[in-house]
Amino acid sequence: MTRTILDPTGERTVAERARLARPASLDGLTVGLLDISKPRGDVFLDRLEERLAGVGANVKRYSKPTFTKPAPVDLRHEIATECHVVIEALAD
């Protein structure tokens, strides 16, 4: 006999957004470096900043208040409006 059960999921419709095309060059673009506030993430990002400056990118630095929580919406908006590209550093 056919049985019927109730869907246990959130039944959400996922909104998918296409990524922007990768830029051919970073020359003149603004690159955001997001530190998630894990130890030594800054070491990695410091080195990236040097390298990016060397290819003509403008670098802006950001950091999350804590690595354990998603970036606050205001921070995400700030990065989106100020940068062409963002690099997020994980950790340890």
């Binding site: 019927t4 059960i5 109730l6 246990p8 804590t66 354990t68």
Partner: protein, 477 residues
């Protein structure tokens, strides 16, 4: 399906399985001959035969007309019930029908039997069949040839153990456990930030194996973990082996049969095992928190199937953990804590509070790493025998915590990175003594069997605003 209209005149509902129904058959024959009678039979379509009956095969007539006892004799005028009597009481039947001399050979009185429409084994299905659905969840059909349990594994809805299929009847029965409306939003569940309704929580509770009376505890646990303070998202995303540890307090723990005694943190108690599991299934299925996806735990721990136990507030000499967070005695409450599996602390010889405090402090200092301090909280769950050592010396909760904290400070130089030939540690350059815990970072609970000089240490995760803060909520029924 609407409510079936009963024919005008006299109507009786019977079943063969009821001795009183069989007893009144001569009366039914008498009434059928004059003035006329409509007979509905719940079980055997051939009962009583004379007079012939209408088979209430799907119990729709009985359910809609709220028949609780058979026989039920009803008087109908213009399609509306105007009177009814249940069982057999000659005077009542004579008054209702206006006919004297009914069943002269029958005893004066016989109580009726339970109607099939209120049979506990049928009532959930009948409610779904006749009640009109109030549930919003998408219906999913399982094919004839498909196995229910395997189907749910295949869809990725389980924690690796079988789940109970959430049929509408089971979910409706589960919802009887709360006064809250099925469509009420309970919380927004990370990581996908999906608004979850009471109904979806009930579905998870069915799948986990909960009884309806556990539902308020599950709902409260969901509310307690789905907020920025507790940070369920972070608990999933971390590589550490933590998950919500649910500590239940209050007299309601006994009402729903929770275990706070022998093997309180182990297997074998339905409420302990399924309340925590329901929360985890909800986070998985509604929130989308699945291992290998947002859940990045390096090892995890068995408590991630569900870790829930009750405090023994009758054995505890220092009150409850919920009380530590301001919940009044006698109020049912849960505390959620971002913790890993429990670790046993053995001390079978200490008979003075000082000696036992020294023992416990050594183990607490070692939690996660003896050189890492301040960053992690802990719950120390003493067994009644350890708790008694302190109680007999007159140490209350504040005294125990004070004495433990006073034994849990270490010179910063000994904790610094590189000290003791161990690279791990606190940053170099800190001065003075450092406490293992923040002033509120060590919590006490009491649970476990009456024999065994043991305590259990539940180690926490990144604490405070940068990680997770324990949340205590009174259970909302």
């Amino acid at each position: 399906m609407g409510k079936p209209v009963l024919p005008d005149g006299l109507v009786v509902v019977v079943k063969r399985d009821c001795e009183t129904c069989r007893t009144v058959v001569p009366v039914l024959q008498q009434l059928a001959a004059d003035p006329g009678l409509a007979v509905y039979t719940q079980d055997d379509p051939d009962f009583p035969g004379d007079p012939a009956a209408i088979h209430d095969a799907d119990l729709g007539v009985s359910w809609h007309h709220e028949i609780e006892t058979v026989p039920t004799l009803i008087k109908v005028e213009d399609g509306v019930e105007v009177d009814r009597t249940v069982g057999w009481l000659r005077t009542a039947w004579e008054e209702l029908t206006g006919i004297d001399g009914l069943g002269p050979d029958l005893p004066d009185f016989r109580p009726g039997c339970g109607s099939k429409s209120v049979d506990p084994d049928l009532v959930d299905e009948l409610r779904v069949r006749h009640g009109g659905s109030i549930l919003q969840a998408r219906r999913i059909e399982i094919a004839d040839a498909e196995d229910d349990i395997e189907m749910m594994f295949t869809r990725g809805w389980t924690d690796g153990l079988p789940v109970v299929p959430p049929t509408e009847a089971r979910v409706m029965a589960m919802l009887d456990g709360t006064t809250r409306a099925p469509d009420e939003i309970v919380a927004t569940v990370p990581p996908d930030l999906v608004d979850v309704t009471v109904e979806k929580v009930a579905i998870a509770a069915v799948m986990a194996g909960c009884k309806p009376e556990y539902l308020p505890w599950v709902l409260t646990a969901v509310e307690a973990v789905c907020n920025d303070e507790f940070n369920m998202h972070g608990l999933l995303a971390t590589t550490m082996p933590v998950s919500p540890v649910i500590v239940c307090s209050g007299p309601g723990t006994r009402r729903i049969g929770m275990n706070s005694g022998i093997n309180a943190m182990g297997q074998g108690n339905r409420a302990n095992s399924t309340i925590g599991r329901a929360l985890q299934l909800l986070v998985r299925n509604v929130g989308g928190g699945r291992p290998g996806e947002v859940d990045r735990a390096t090892h995890g721990n068995p408590g991630k199937v569900g870790f829930c136990f009750a405090e023994d507030d009758t054995a505890s000499p220092y009150g409850t953990l919920a009380g530590q967070f301001g919940i009044d005695e006698g109020v049912d409450a849960i505390t959620v804590f971002a913790g890993e599996g429990p670790h046993c602390i053995v001390d079978q010889l200490s008979r003075t509070p000082e000696s036992l405090a020294n023992s416990l402090a050594h183990q607490l200092q070692a939690m996660h790493h003896h050189k890492l301090v301040i960053a992690f909280d802990a719950i120390l769950v003493m067994g009644p025998e350890h708790a008694r050592v302190f109680a007999e010396a007159g140490w209350d909760r504040d005294r125990i915590l004070f004495e433990l904290h006073s034994r849990l400070t270490t010179p910063a130089a000994e904790l610094a990175r590189g000290a003791g030939d161990i690279a791990e540690g606190v940053p170099i350059g800190l001065e003075g003594d450092l406490p293992k815990f923040t002033p509120t970072g060590l919590m006490l609970a009491c649970a476990g069997g009456g024999a065994g000089l043991f305590s259990m240490l539940i180690a926490g995760w990144a604490n405070g605003a940068k990680g997770s803060t324990p949340v205590t909520r009174a259970v909302r029924y």
